[in-house]
Amino acid sequence: MAMATTHRFPQFKYVDAVRWLPLQSPFHRFAVLALFDSDTDSSSIQIHSFNPNPLSFDSQFSWPSPSRISSLRTSHFLQKPLIVASTSSGSLHFLFADPSHAELLSEASLPDAALHSLPASSVDLMDAAVECVTVGEDGRVNLVNVGESNLSYRRIFDSGGLVSYTAVRWASPMEFATGGYGFSLQWWDQRKPGGPVSQFKGDWDKKLTSGIVHSIDIHPSRKHTCLAGGSLGTVFAWDLRWQQQPIILSGAGAGNAAVQSISESEVWEVQYDCCIKSNTSSTRILPSMICSEDGILGVIEQGEEPVELLAEPCAINSFDIDRHNPSDVICSLEWEAVAILTRQ
């Protein structure tokens, strides 16, 4: 276990997702929680302020959501924090927050089933912009733009259910990557419409049982590498320049003794860990953090032993590394709680 101070905050509500709110304030830290109250069958997005000394984690603001949140992202636009959430009924919501008071300034939504017909959809927000990409299990890929007062969207692909997408991530203002069943990854370029420009085939190992990609991350300095996490503790990197050869970083099914597996079940989220300064030669994959169904929050680095930050008796559904203070990590625990870690 690595050295870290952990604080747990029971919520008495199921935490569907957590994100830090990117806000540069010396006194306040804000986290966004997507909550589901099973007693009243209602969902909400709440902004909590975190204070390490004296310790507090209090709700500042709550926005009632029409249904459960399936994907949550935060970003900032013109120095204003921006939250985007997709729901299980297929609606999409943009919330603009007030940085000084953590209040909601405005909200814009797309109604149910406008974008996706299926429960699960994944969304990603472009950094410092208001362009958003959504993908769903129904096989649709949409681009959503926030205008002055309204949202506009266009569907750039529809596989008609032949292919389902479970994860999406922007690589550049023109390109993004998606992931889906069978450990598949697709690379898209808005300048080349009509379908993915490149596909990564999942069956790199004949012995490997297949799985689903749950999360993708792309580092701004290495846009050609796509990091993906999914079933069976699998984390791999796909370098566009080495088309069909993945670099396996963790995975129970990998059948490769040289790769240690940090988890054996679903890796729900993966993010590059900017906190760890490694001796980065450009050939190595940058260190990354994962959270898993079997309760692991840990850091993996190519060729190194994985480091566990947290080993919980319940699943860790999502986590986020604070981009301004990368030593701080927030994660949501399945047993209706949130944990905040501060690494030494």
């Binding site: 699960a120 085939k201 079940s265």
Partner: protein
């Protein structure tokens, strides 16, 4: 619903306690013509109401009986108790495998159980509440902000009697502490010393001369009788004679008050450590007896002191001497000072029989106390306490179950079995009247059932089910099959649980169900993925036929792009794809054909022919594709440079054509949409090729 439908024409005569009434807000015009009731998730009733053409479904949450702990807190307790429970079970199984006996009754076993009990105790109440030594202000006698729960009190009571062997020697003192922590809980049903103290504390600021108030002396004797020494001493120091302006003319009175206060704070206690409380602690019995005798003689001496006559404040005089009587164990004074039988019982331990006695004599003493202080209403903790003192495990279980619900029974049963081999046998033997399972298993199953009924807790039920030898696995299978396959997170959790408990056959069935569900809902990719994971060849074959219909319709290259992702999903030949592997080969053929269409490379053309032959040989290639495939390959058949197909290959294709013409006579044959002369041009091309090939060979 109109209440009179229940009142006037009830179907089942209702007896017993008054019924709970849940008002419904349905907004339908009366009368309601039809009503159907079913259980929804958890303890929610789903009512479908029909009134004429209008209908509405309403859900009514039937309140859980325990209003003390809200549902969300119950869930937190449920989550938190998983790890200690699982640890204890694994310790139990490792010990019993070590000893090769089914019973884990072992000399050190209670230490494991105690650790378990302490962890659950912490979960229930956080840090232990301390009643007395908080001095926050002069007017604070008892803490009122944090209320303990009955559940916590019940757990600790069971722990005191059944588990903690180490402190068995100072059991009376542990009961004293227990009452100090939880006396406030009894306020709900009767008057308690804690309740009286709280009331008095509220008025404390308004009382001018405290020692003139009779309640002051009443409460002093009450608090002393149950051993709250800190409260008593603090209250004594509020006595008016301590005030600086009065000290000079009330010197003697003050001396007496202080003497009593010192005596109280020096009371010998048979307990290991003081925990910051007043009193002199003695670990060994002989030391304690010596100190006890000495202390009693000091009290007697003070009681007979001549100073009392000189004390002119009548109330102080009487009040202080009453305190001395309490300390000397005067039964009448104790009876007057205490409010209900448990308080009286505790005072017996403190001032009359301060030594541990057998549980039987403890029970007799309790009976005596109940006679002296008959109870008008019974508190839920009282029943439990009597059951424990009666040494009747079944009564204890019944009380736990009736008053505190399945969580407590399922978890406290671990504590009950540590006491004796007898109760171990009682609880663990299989019983015919319970369907061949033991009492322990029955209660675990009941608790697991509660967990299973809630969307957030069903995933911890397997921990309890797998600890049930007889029926646990069967119910676990039921539970897993019952979960929805609609959402990936639930589905994947389900599969994860199967993996943990090595239930491969269930997980493969669940994946099949998921596959069919997704297929039916038009998510063809997801459907194929799950059927592949389940290795369900027959299902894949069947859906393949449906899939080819849509492929056949969109044979043009543009729309085929949509299929690319799906074909990628099918993966290599090693993955079971059933009839779908045709798609893979078809894609390969299409690709090589595309290469040929532009250039004149014979190698590329040969490759395409290879793909074509593979496709035509493969039994999984649907018949309806034969003609379009051949039509697409006309260019290959008529290749300029040389014949690409050998004689045998050409014969194979001709045979296929023959088969097709026979199939045309069948009823289900569907004509592919091809140009009218397609068949004849294929025949011609094949014949030409055959001729050229024969010449070549």
């Amino acid at each position: 619903m109109a209440s009179d439908t229940v009142g006037n024409g009830s179907l089942v005569p209702f007896t017993g306690d008054s019924a709970a009434v849940y008002p419904l807000h349905h907004g339908l015009p009366l009368p309601i013509s039809r009503l159907s009731i079913s259980w929804s998730r958890g303890n929610t009733l789903r009512l479908s109401l029909f009134a004429g053409a209008a209908a509405k479904v309403v859900e009514v949450k039937v309140n859980s009986e325990d209003s003390e702990i809200p549902d969300a807190h119950w869930r937190r307790i449920a989550y938190g108790s998983v790890a200690p429970f699982a640890l204890l079970q694994s310790q139990r199984s490792s010990i019993s495998s070590l000893l090769k006996t089914p019973s884990p009754y072992h000399s050190d076993w209670w230490e494991h159980v105690l650790q378990y009990s302490k962890e659950i105790g912490t979960l229930l109440g956080g840090s232990k509440l301390t009643n007395s030594p908080i001095i926050e202000g002069p007017n604070i006698l008892v803490k009122t902000d944090e209320m303990p729960t009955c559940l916590q009190a019940a757990w600790e009571l069971i722990e005191i009697f059944y588990v903690d062997k180490q402190s068995q020697a100072w059991l009376p003192e542990r009961l004293v502490d227990w009452l100090a922590d939880y006396d406030s809980l009894f306020t709900s049903t009767h008057e308690t010393i804690h309740g009286k103290l709280v009331d008095f504390q509220k008025e404390l600021g308004n009382i001018q001369v405290i020692e003139d108030d009779p309640r002051y002396w009443d409460l002093l004797s009450s608090a002393l009788s149950v051993g709250w020494l800190d409260v008593v001493v603090r209250m004594l120091r509020l006595h008016g004679s301590y005030q600086l302006d009065q000290l000079s003319n009330r010197e003697l009175e003050n001396g007496l008050v202080e003497a009593v206060a010192v005596l109280i704070s020096k009371m010998p206690r048979l307990r290991p450590e003081s925990d910051g409380k007043l009193g002199d602690c003695y670990k060994s019995k002989p030391d304690f007896i010596k100190a006890w005798e000495k202390w009693r003689s000091q009290i007697t001496k003070l009681d007979h002191s001549p100073f009392w006559i000189q004390c002119d404040n009548q109330q102080t005089h009487e009040g202080l001497r009453n305190l001395l009587q309490i300390m000397l164990g005067n039964i009448e004074s104790l009876c007057l000072a205490t409010c209900y039988w448990i308080e009286l019982y505790i005072s017996h331990f403190l001032y009359i029989r301060p030594f541990t006695m057998g549980i039987e004599s403890m029970y007799n003493l309790a009976e005596k106390c109940i006679q002296l202080k008959p109870q008008s209403s019974i508190h839920r903790l009282t029943g439990l306490m009597i059951g424990i003192l009666e040494e009747n495990t079944e009564v204890v279980l019944a009380e736990c179950s009736r008053e505190f619900g399945p969580w407590l029974v399922a978890h406290a049963i671990e504590l009950l079995t540590t006491g004796s081999e007898q109760s171990e046998i009682l609880l663990h033997e299989d019983r015919y009247n319970l369907g061949g399972i033991s009492i322990v298993e029955l209660h675990r199953l009941a608790y697991a059932q509660i967990l299973s009924s809630h969307a957030l807790t069903w995933q911890i039920a397997p921990i309890y089910l797998t600890s049930c030898m007889k029926q646990g696995m069967g119910l676990l299978e039921n539970l897993l099959y019952r979960q929805s396959v609609q959402h990936n997170d639930v589905l994947l959790k389900n599969i994860e649980i199967c993996r943990l408990y090595e239930l491969d056959h269930i997980s493969s069935n669940i994946m099949k169900i998921a596959g069919v569900y997704h297929w039916k809902h038009g998510h063809k990719g997801a459907g194929v993925f799950w059927l592949q994971q389940a290795q369900d060849r027959s299902c894949l074959d069947r859906i393949a036929q449906q899939l080819f219909d849509s492929v056949g319709k969109s044979i043009s290259d543009e729309s085929f792009k949509k299929w690319e992702g799906m074909i990628e999903l099918l993966g290599s030949e090693s993955n079971p794809a059933g009839g779908l592997e045709f798609l893979h080969k078809y894609r390969d053929f299409k690709k090589s054909l595309k290469k040929v269409s532009g250039g004149k490379s014979t190698d590329a053309a040969r490759q395409a022919v290879g793909s074509l032959i593979l496709l035509m040989k493969n039994p999984s290639t649907p018949q309806r594709f034969w003609l379009p495939l051949l039509h697409d390959s006309l260019k290959l058949l008529n290749w300029q440079d040389c014949p690409l197909l050998s004689v045998s290959e050409t014969n194979l294709l001709l045979n296929k054509l023959q088969e097709l013409s026979l199939a045309k006579l069948c009823a289900h044959y569907t004509e592919p949409s091809l140009p009218p002369n397609a068949l004849s041009s294929i025949r011609l091309a094949l014949a030409t090729n055959l001729g050229r090939a024969i010449l070549d060979e």
